[in-house]
C-alpha cells in the first residue's frame, strides 16, 4: 500500500495558497471581486492582479478533477452533448463540469466569469474553448489577445508592438470598464518585479537537477512546483516566499545527498536520468509516476514545466518595460515556440542535466504538443545518440491510460538504458 506523501513546509504553503484561492473564488461575490477566466500559457497574471480580479484557470480545474477521478464523468457528459471523442479532453472536462453545475474540484461552486481573457498562446483549442464558454456565459466580457507564434524562432519588435497595441487599446480599457479600476502602471511594475524574483527562484530550483543524485523530480514533482507561478501567484510575495522555502528544502537535500521525494518516500537509488516531453497523464498520475520511481528513473527536466513560461535562457519579466515584457512573456511560452526551438531546448536540457534518455509522453488529444513530436524525437536521437522512449496516454480521459501498455513499454525502455550503461562501462574499462 502506498504510504502517505511526506509533507514539507513548501507543500503546506502551496496547499494553503490553493485552498485560499478556491475559497476566494467561492466567495467572489461577497468579496466584491470580479472574476477572470484565462489560460496558463501566456497568462497575464500581473495585469489581472493590477485590476484586483480573481482568476479561474479552466485547465487547472480539469486536471484537478482528473486527479480526483471526476473527469471521466464530465467528459462523458460533454460527449452526450455533441462533443467529439477526439478533441482536447480538457475542454470536455470543463464543459461537462459546467453542465453539472460548475462545482469546482474542491467541491465549491465556481463563480461565473466577468471576463473571458483569451491570451491564446500556443494552442488553437484555447480559442475554440472560449468560443464555447462565451455561449455559456453571454454576459461575460470577452478580451482576445492574439499572441503571435515564434514561427521564425524569434520575437520581432513588430510582434511585440502588435501585442502592446492590443494591451493598450483593447485589454486595459476593457479591464478598466469591467472592474471600474483605473490602470495603475506603478502597481503593475511592482507585480512584475515580484514575478522576476519568483522566476529567478524557479530557475534555480529546476537547475538543481544538475546534481547527482538529483534532489527533485522535474516532471512529476515539477508540476507541483510550477503551481504557484502558473496559477495566479506569479507577481505576489506569496509566490516568492514559497519558492524561497522550496529552494531551501532542496538545498538541504543536496547537502545530505538525497534523491527526490516520491509519494512513497525518498527515492533511494537514482539509476536513470531522463528528460520528458509532453504533459503528464492526470487520471492515473500516481501509478504513472510510480512506474518511473520504482525503476529508479528520475526526470531531470521536462518541457511541460515550461508551458507557463520558458526561463531557461535567462528571460525574466522586466518592470522597466511593463507592457512589452508581458508581450514577450506570452510569446515565450513553450508551445508558442516552433519545432526546431523546442528541439534545441530539449537538447540543451539533455546535455545540461546529463540525461541518460529522452521520453515522449504523447497526449492523444493535445495537438499543440503532439503534432511534430515524432520528428523531434528522431532528431534528438540522431544528433545526441540518446536512447528515446515513446508512450501514449491522455490528459484527463481515463479511457486512454493503459497501465499495462505503458508499463511494458517503459520496462523495455529501461532495459535498453541498462544495456547501454553496461556497454558504456565496458568501453570505458577497455
Amino acid at each position: 500500500m502506498a504510504q502517505e506523501a511526506q509533507k514539507e513546509k513548501s507543500m503546506i504553503l502551496q496547499k494553503e495558497m490553493i485552498e485560499g484561492l478556491f475559497n476566494d473564488l467561492a466567495n467572489a461575490k461577497e468579496l466584491g471581486k470580479k472574476v477572470c477566466y484565462t489560460f496558463i500559457p501566456g497568462n497575464l497574471s500581473e495585469l489581472i492582479q493590477t485590476f484586483d480580479m480573481l482568476i479561474v484557470y479552466p485547465e487547472i480545474n480539469a486536471l484537478q478533477n482528473a486527479m480526483r477521478k471526476k473527469s471521466g464523468g464530465y467528459i462523458k457528459e460533454a460527449e452526450r452533448n455533441a462533443h467529439s471523442e477526439d478533441v482536447c479532453t480538457y475542454v470536455k472536462c470543463d464543459v461537462g463540469m459546467m453542465m453539472k453545475g460548475n462545482i469546482g474540484p474542491t467541491g465549491q461552486k465556481l463563480p461565473e466569469p466577468d471576463v473571458l481573457l483569451l491570451s491564446y498562446t500556443g494552442c488553437f483549442t484555447f480559442m475554440k474553448w472560449f468560443e464555447t464558454l462565451k455561449r455559456e456565459y453571454p454576459n461575460a466580457t470577452v478580451i482576445m489577445v492574439h499572441t503571435p507564434y515564434q514561427e521564425n524562432a524569434e520575437i520581432t519588435p513588430e510582434m511585440t508592438q502588435y501585442m502592446v497595441k492590443q494591451f493598450k487599446e483593447e485589454v486595459i480599457p476593457k479591464m478598466e470598464e469591467v472592474t471600474g479600476i483605473k490602470y495603475d502602471e506603478a502597481k503593475l511594475k511592482r507585480h512584475l518585479k515580484l514575478s522576476a524574483e519568483a522566476e529567478d527562484w524557479i530557475t534555480k530550483i529546476f537547475d538543481t537537477t544538475k546534481h547527482k543524485p538529483s534532489p527533485i523530480d522535474a516532471y512529476f514533482a515539477g508540476v507541483y512546483y510550477i503551481g504557484p507561478i502558473n496559477i495566479g501567484f506569479r507577481g505576489t510575495q506569496k509566490a516568492v516566499d514559497y519558492y524561497k522555502e522550496l529552494y531551501k528544502e532542496i538545498q538541504i537535500r543536496i547537502e545530505k545527498g538525497l534523491g527526490p521525494i516520491t509519494p512513497e518516500g525518498e527515492m533511494k537509488e537514482e539509476k536513470y536520468r531522463l528528460v520528458v516531453e509532453g504533459p503528464p497523464n492526470w487520471t492515473s498520475f500516481r501509478e504513472f509516476w510510480k512506474i518511473f520511481y520504482d525503476m529508479g528513473a528520475v526526470i531531470v527536466a521536462s518541457s511541460y514545466t515550461k508551458v507557463g513560461g520558458v526561463y531557461d535562457y535567462g528571460w525574466r519579466h522586466n518592470p522597466d518595460r511593463p507592457l512589452e515584457t508581458l508581450a514577450e512573456y506570452c510569446m515565450n511560452c513553450y508551445t508558442n515556440m516552433n519545432i526546431p526551438q523546442r528541439i534545441e531546448l530539449l537538447k540543451k536540457c539533455i546535455v545540461d542535466y546529463k540525461a541518460d534518455g529522452y521520453v515522449t509522453n504523447s497526449i492523444k488529444s493535445c495537438n499543440s504538443f503532439s503534432a511534430g513530436q515524432l520528428g523531434m524525437m528522431r532528431e534528438i536521437e540522431d544528433s545526441l545518440e540518446v536512447p528515446v522512449g515513446f508512450i501514449e496516454s491522455d490528459l484527463v480521459d481515463p479511457r486512454y491510460f493503459s497501465y499495462s501498455n505503458i508499463k511494458n513499454r517503459l520496462e523495455s525502455y529501461f532495459q535498453m538504458l541498462e544495456q547501454r550503461k553496461k556497454m558504456e562501462k565496458e568501453t570505458a574499462a577497455v
Binding site: V87, S368, G372, L374
Partner: protein
C-alpha cells in the same frame, strides 16, 4: 469555346496532379519565376502573383497517394493531411516549389511548418499568423507585416518587389476569379443539376494549381455553358456542407453526397478560394492594406477566425437561408480539432433554430463510404417526408 465536359476533365486532371506539373511548366517557361506552396485554408495569393510568383495550393494526397513515410511523422490520432503532405514532400513531388506557407488554422498545420523547417524542405518556410485582432490599426497592420515578410522571402529568390500597380493588377485578377466562382454557386443555387458539386469542386480546386489568368478563362467558358438550361432536375433536397475546409474528402465522397439525394448548394471545401466576400479594392495606393482590410471586414466565417463578435452559427444559418437549403451536413475530417470543436456550437444553435443537420467524419484516404451514403440518403428522405414542416428553412 470548348465543350463543358472537356473543360471539367481538364480541371480534374489539374486538380489532382500531385506532381504539380502545370506549375512546373509555368515556372520553367521564364527566368525568375517562383512557386510558393500554401496549405489550407486561406492565403492572399494576390501578393505572390504580383511578385512574379505563382501560388500553388497543397491540399494533401487524398486517396491518390499511399502513405508510407508520412506515418512515421504523425501519431494515429492526428488527422491525415499532414502525413500525406509529408509523403508528397519526401517523395520529392514538390522539388520545384520554392517556398511554403502554412496559414494559421490549427496546431497541426502550425507544427507542420516546424517539421518542414526541421527537414529543410524548400528555400523558405513561413507560418503565416493571421490576425485575431480585427481593428485595422492593430490587426490590419500586423497582417501587412506578415505579407511583407512573405514578399521579402520571394525577393530573396527573384530580386523582385511588386509595385503598387502590379499588386492592384493581381488583386483585380483574383477579384475576377472569386466573382466567377460565386457566379457558379449562384447558378447552382437555383439550378443545381446544371453542374454537379463534384464538377464544381474540380473546377475550383484546379484554380489553386494553375495560373489565375488561365483559370479565369476556364471559369468564363464554364459560366457561359451553365447559363444555358442544361441537365435534368432531380428530386433531391438542397444542403450546405460545412466543416470540410482543410483535409479534403475524396472525390468519391463528394460525389456520393449528391448521389444519395442532396444537392450541395454551398460548401467550405475550397474555402480559401472563396474566403473574401466581394471584391478587394484594386485601386488603392496601399494594396497590402486593402488586402488586410478585406480580410478583416469581408471574410467568410471560418473555424480559424475567432468569432464571438460575429457568431458563426448565425452566419451559417444565413447561408442556409440565402441558398434556400433544407439542411446542413457537418462533415469533419477525423481528428480535426477546429471542425469538431465547432460542431457542438453549430448543432446546439441549430437545434434551437430548427435547422436540420447530420454529421459524419471522414478521412481523405478513405474511399469506402457506404455508411455515410446511407446516412445522407436517410437525411434526404426524412426532409422530403417532412417538407411541409414549418421549421424547415426554404
Amino acid at each position: 469555346m470548348k465543350e463543358l465536359n472537356e473543360l471539367i476533365e481538364t480541371c480534374k486532371n489539374y486538380a489532382f496532379d500531385l506532381n504539380f506539373t502545370k506549375a512546373k511548366e509555368w515556372k520553367e517557361a521564364k527566368k525568375d519565376r517562383v512557386l510558393v506552396g500554401y496549405m489550407p485554408i486561406y492565403f492572399p495569393r494576390e501578393i505572390i502573383h504580383a511578385a512574379g510568383g505563382m501560388p500553388v495550393g497543397i491540399f494533401g494526397g487524398g486517396d491518390n497517394k499511399q502513405i508510407i513515410k508520412g506515418d512515421a511523422y504523425y501519431q494515429s490520432y492526428i488527422c491525415h493531411i499532414p502525413r500525406s503532405i509529408m509523403e508528397i514532400a519526401l517523395d520529392k513531388h514538390m522539388e520545384h516549389i520554392d517556398g511554403f506557407i502554412f496559414p494559421s488554422i490549427c496546431d497541426v498545420i502550425r507544427n507542420l511548418s516546424g517539421v518542414f523547417k526541421q527537414q529543410k524542405i524548400g528555400k523558405f518556410v513561413k507560418y503565416m499568423d493571421f490576425p485575431q485582432n480585427f481593428l485595422p490599426e492593430i490587426g490590419g497592420v500586423f497582417y501587412q507585416q506578415e505579407m511583407e515578410h512573405v514578399l521579402k522571402y520571394i525577393k530573396e529568390i527573384n530580386g523582385k518587389t511588386p509595385s503598387t500597380d502590379e499588386l492592384n493588377h493581381s488583386i483585380s485578377l483574383y477579384n475576377r476569379n472569386r466573382s466567377l466562382i460565386e457566379f457558379i454557386y449562384k447558378i447552382r443555387q437555383e439550378f443545381p443539376w446544371r453542374l454537379s458539386i463534384e464538377d464544381v469542386y474540380n473546377i475550383v480546386r484546379a484554380g489553386t494549381v494553375i495560373p489565375v489568368e488561365e483559370h479565369n478563362s476556364i471559369l468564363e467558358e464554364i459560366c457561359e455553358h451553365i447559363k444555358e438550361n442544361i441537365g435534368m432536375p432531380q428530386d433531391k433536397i438542397k444542403v450546405v456542407v460545412s466543416g470540410a475546409f482543410c483535409e479534403q474528402p475524396s472525390l468519391g465522397l463528394i460525389r456520393a453526397i449528391e448521389e444519395a439525394g442532396c444537392y450541395v448548394v454551398d460548401d467550405d471545401y475550397m474555402l480559401g478560394s472563396r474566403m473574401i466576400l466581394g471584391d478587394i479594392d484594386a485601386s488603392s495606393n496601399n494594396p497590402l492594406e486593402a488586402i488586410a482590410h478585406a480580410y478583416i471586414n469581408q471574410s467568410q466565417y471560418s473555424s480559424s477566425i475567432y468569432d464571438v463578435h460575429n457568431p458563426k452559427e448565425n452566419r451559417l444559418a444565413k447561408i442556409v437561408k440565402d441558398r434556400g437549403a433544407d439542411g446542413v451536413i457537418f462533415a469533419s475530417a477525423s481528428f480535426c480539432d477546429p471542425s469538431l470543436l465547432d460542431a457542438p456550437i453549430f448543432q446546439n444553435a441549430f437545434d434551437k433554430m430548427g435547422i436540420r443537420y447530420i454529421a459524419f467524419q471522414y478521412s481523405e484516404n478513405i474511399n469506402q463510404y457506404k455508411v455515410i451514403k446511407e446516412q445522407v440518403g436517410t437525411f434526404s428522405d426524412s426532409i422530403k417526408l417532412w417538407e411541409d414542416d414549418t421549421t424547415v428553412l426554404a
